[in-house]
Amino acid sequence: MKPTLFLLPLFAGLMATSALAQSQDLGEPLGDGAQVDTVSIEGDDDDGPLRGTVTDESDWENLGIAIPAFATDRNAPTPANDSGTEALGREIARVISGNLRNNGLFKPSGPDGLPSPTFAQITAPSWGSWSGRGAEMLVHGYVRARPDNRLVVGCYLYDVALQDELIREGWVVQPADWRRAAHKCSDLIYARLTGEDPFFDSRIAYIAETGPKDNRVKRLAVMDSDGANHRFLTLGSATALTPRYSPDYSKILYLSYVDGNPRIYVYDIGSGQQTLVTENRNPTLAPRWSPDGRYILYSMAVAGNTDIYRVPVSGGTSVRLTDTPGIDIGGSYSPDGSKIVFESDRSGTQQCYVMDADGSNQRRITFFGGRCATPEWSPRGDQIAFTRIAGDFNVAVMTPSGGGLRVLTNGWQDEAPTWAPNGRIIQFFRTTRDSGRSALWQVDLTGRNERRLPTPVDASDPAWGPIRP
């Protein structure tokens, strides 16, 4: 009747790790990521840093940023690029240009179509050749291969009109992590020009979908914030759903049908092993992390009645936080960990509620028309994103008290919003009517800048991890 239950102990005792991984629908583990070290880099230090020159949000959309190829001191071979550090410098500029273009705030140009500065010009731009190009901002950088194969990447942001440096930073990365240096540089530029927190150097976990609507294969997958370094973590023999990255990127919570029932697993990214979130025969759903990564919220159905529970990551006793008849599910902590927003149909339809972290003071916060589902508290604390069901499904935001409703998208079925690490961009998935095909989309808090995030196959349930250290 349930062969898996009998086989698992046998497998653990007799078979190699890979066989165990197969039986759990797991692919090869990613392993632990390498460190990125920040280093001080040379520059023109004859005066102090300038304050921001951009103050009006509406101006950002027209802010031209020239991003020529990063220079190199000498074209050296590197595992990061078959053609050496010179070609790598162009690729780094291309990644930065793509990042800044895709959030709708800037008009980046380059590296193609722009002259390539020399290594010496990185700290002393040739102003005359940039002032006539219509770009207010200029990004320069270099890449240098060290004897130990690691790469030093320097990143500089200049104000063309002022002919002065706004900010600079450098990083030492493993060759395999060269894109992270490009993301760090993108973050430096974005944060300096907008005053917002960075978000490019982050990863996204999601569900990759293939196959026809009545026989969809759903696999756990991860990728960088721009879609690069894509990896499937499960093999697809069991349906995987609703992943969530841990705050330190060491684990992913997700739902798998690997034993035939929907259950939440804690997947360890370094080792590629996974364990049940709680040893229990009941279905467990809707996993979430506490902001400090010490607790897991999950929902469990007992005889058809679903409630929200909290368990320490280290294991131990689960605490039941809701006890009303009906479906209480999901749950998203406020950034300070003191409150939880969740959804419940105790009133007859799905609505959003807030409670204290211990389950006390439960109160409904949504009273506008339609339903409120999948609420997610912003990392900044000031907004809650949710799926608004009023005819179609749309992504909307409100304040933690349920005011200030703003609907940000207008697809037929947009659901399951999660936040970028800086709380400025919301990611969700959009399902197409009839075909059932789904894709990841992003929208900023203004609702004006919406874009599809490219994925190798159809995609759902995006979950953005925090900024990487």
């Binding site: 009747m1 026809p212 609507k213 009545d214 969809r216 759903k218 349906t239 759903l241 609703t242 739902l255 035939g260 029932n261 929907p262 279905p283 759903l285 809707a286 929902s299 159905a301 005889a303 058809g304 009645n305 679903t306 479906i327 599910i329 999901g330 959804e343 149909d345 339809t349 799905q350 589902a373 999948t374 799926t387 069901i389 499904f393 079925q413 659901e415 399951a416 399902t431 009517r433 009839d434 059932g436 759902s460 349930d461």
Partner: protein, 176 residues
Amino acid sequence: MTFSFPKAATVALMTSTLALGACSKKAPEELPPVQQTATPTPTPTPTGPVGASVGTQAHFEQAVGSSTTIYFDTDRFNIDSTDAAALQAQAQYFARFPQLNFTVEGHADERGTREYNLALGERRANAAKNYLVSLGVSANRIRVVSYGKERPVALASNESAWAQNRRAASVIITGM
């Protein structure tokens, strides 16, 4: 063939099945495809339906017809009279074949959020299970699983398809 539950109960079940047999099926305007080889009214003959062998889903479907599956209104999980008739046909079948165990699979239509639909499918499957238990089917013969909106049978995005997907389907556990 021996019967493991009291004759009075059998008679009561058959009577109610017949009484409800004339009821029109509610929500689905187009029912999911079912094998048309069997009549929907089960005839408890000792040999069972011709063709499929006991312990297969085909045998179950031949015996109870479309009653292997019950349907729900949007966001609802209650057992209405049409569902009750179908579940009574199932209960009769499982009374005749006490060696069989089965799974009640709960489903939702695509017009709900994923996590809520998983919980809703669980609730629907349990509603069907509880009703079957109330009809005398032993609870330990019934496994319950929810697939939420992940396994639709009708693929269009319209009311008719959604009605067919809001369901609890009983499936024989084979290979024992």
